[in-house]
Amino acid sequence: MMFEDLRDLYQEVILDRGRHPRNGSRLAAFDVRAKGDNPMCGDRVEVFVAWDDAGKVAKVGFEARGCAISVASADLMADSVAGLSAAEVRDLAGYFATLARKGSADDIPARFAAAIEGLRALAGVHEYPSRVKCATLPWHALVAALDGAGEASSERD
């Protein structure tokens, strides 16, 4: 098969989530939100976060225009952060960035084990430097939303 060696990058779950994201819509009620864009390629995402009463993430929704990788990443992200505190989301974002850049991430605390498992499908991007930003863009937007920044940009370097 011609693209066999791309199956690492485009795993079934990515293709599926890219096409049919579960969380790909604006939340009817949300507490914070932020946009992210990658000026070089035109990917755009807006992330919406609703808190629960304990100050943890109740739900994340997003609206995205972008490639399969960025949409799938946003969708898996939304799943992975449910129930986490803002501080935990930031930590997880860091582990995810390492995973995307390096293909693996060490010393991930046990409390993130489940979350990171769901994200591993994206580890394949590390071989495609210009696609790493597609995967990390929704996370930048999410962190910007938590920071109250409103906007995030995926840097070129």
Binding site: F3, L6, L15, R44, G66, C67, A68, R131
Partner: protein, 414 residues
């Protein structure tokens, strides 16, 4: 599958052998470089000209009384003659070296725009411009109170000339700055017609020839425009050098842009006076080596000949349009009759980036994104396209590889 559909007048194999990089493989596959509209590869003569200069004949220009400086100055100034010849400029003093097209346009926006335009004057651009021919005029608008008007683009991807007339109607337009060939749609714009209408309305015309000059002979006197810009790296030359051509009388009336060495006539702390054109616009040590490389690139293009280049481009483009059109779910953006070797498309179910990544895995380099033309993307209601673009070294076989692979990409994402 495929088939070579047209006779090809160019010795493509011979030309390919002049480009060392084309022998490279990428990810284990032979490189199929279809991103020439972003930047072209460099022929051996350009590489050699740069190396030879650094190895045997180099010094700073214009200011030296010694042999190395005199010879290097000669070589640098010979490029001015070569560019004047390439554009059929009336006068070598009309050729100004810049870093790239972008700087050339900014130079005009600063020097002509801030220097000679007044608040209330209007500048016209079009919806199919590269950001480099949009943002400088927006900055002029915002800093200087010049109005910015935009020629819309039709569904087939041409300038709407009736709307252009409407832009010109109130006589306030002083400058029309439009592309000579779209870097997204491949459309050539009707330069002569634009000039006629603009001049009749009392406006000057700047043509962004970044793409056009790669494929067609440009004669600024026949076109009748007032400024023409292009960028060396797309014309098989080095990075770091671009060209602004302008009518001498106009350049002489324009104030300088950057200040510094080489652009002055005299300096005292109270007051400085300017050198004559073109030097007035070339502050500091210029891109000497790059000029030497650009001269070699122009020589290369002239040796191949624009006639042959044009025929080859048309053969490639027609073949590519036919082959891509066969692919179910693939949509080509723009369908202007007068178009060249730049083809943008979208694919159902697959984002342009994903398409590009799959092609890359097969050694095929295409560009994906907004191509520095966001307003044009908005016009077509899309956020990005994949774009294949051809150079003098592109073969019909490579077009077939692209088409065959795209058909598989479509399968992959279906």
């Amino acid at each position: 599958m495929n088939s070579i559909t047209r006779p090809d007048s160019l010795d493509v194999a011979g030309i390919r052998s002049a480009f060392p990089i084309l022998a490279q493989s990428v990810r284990g596959k032979p490189l199929v470089f279809l991103d020439s509209a972003a930047s072209a590869q460099k022929p051996r003569v350009v590489i050699d000209a740069l190396c030879r200069a650094m190895e045997t004949q180099y010094a700073n220009v214009h200011r030296g009384l010694h042999w190395m400086s005199e010879r290097t100055t000669e070589a640098y100034e010979e490029t001015r003659d070569a560019v004047a010849g390439l554009l059929n400029a009336a006068d070598r003093h009309e050729i100004i070296f810049t870093r790239n097209s972008t700087e050339a346009i900014n130079l005009v926006a600063h020097s002509y725009g801030r220097g000679l335009l007044k608040a209330g004057d209007a500048v016209v651009i079009s919806e199919m411009e590269h950001h480099s021919n949009i943002v400088p005029w927006q900055m002029l608008r915002d800093d200087h109170g010049v109005e910015l008007r935009v020629i819309p683009v039709s569904d087939v991807g041409e300038l709407d000339l009736d709307a252009f007339d409407a832009c010109l109607a109130d006589g306030r337009v002083r400058l029309v700055a439009v592309t000579h060939m779209s870097n997204v749609l491949g459309t050539y714009t009707p330069a002569g017609e634009i000039v006629t209408r603009a001049h009749a309305a009392g406006a000057l015309v700047l043509l962004d020839g970044s793409q056009a000059i790669v494929h067609r002979r440009v004669d600024v006197q026949t076109i009748g425009c007032d400024f023409y810009v292009f960028t060396g790296h797309k014309l098989y030359g080095p990075t770091g050098i671009g060209v602004l051509w302008g009518r001498r009388g106009l350049l002489e009336r324009m104030p300088p842009f950057l200040g510094g060495g080489d652009m002055i006539s005299s300096v005292t702390m109270e007051r400085s006076t300017w050198a004559e054109v073109p030097h007035k616009f070339e502050a500091g040590t210029p891109a000497i080596l790059e000029a030497i490389g650009l001269k070699a690139a122009i020589g290369f293009v002239e040796d191949v000949g624009y006639e042959a280049i044009g025929r080859h481009e048309q053969a490639l483009t027609q073949h590519a349009l036919a082959r891509l059109d066969e692919i179910e779910g693939l949509h080509i953006i723009g369908a202007a009759p007068d178009r060249g070797g730049v083809i943008s498309f979208v694919m159902d179910g697959a984002h342009a980036h994903d398409v590009a990544t799959l092609l890359d895995r097969q050694g095929i380099a295409v560009r994906a994104g907004h191509h520095c033309a966001e307003p044009l993307m908005q016009r077509f209601g899309i956020d990005s396209t994949a774009r294949a673009s051809f150079g003098v070294y592109t073969s019909l076989e490579e077009v077939d590889v692209l088409a065959d692979t795209l058909a598989r990409v479509r399968e992959f994402f279906k």
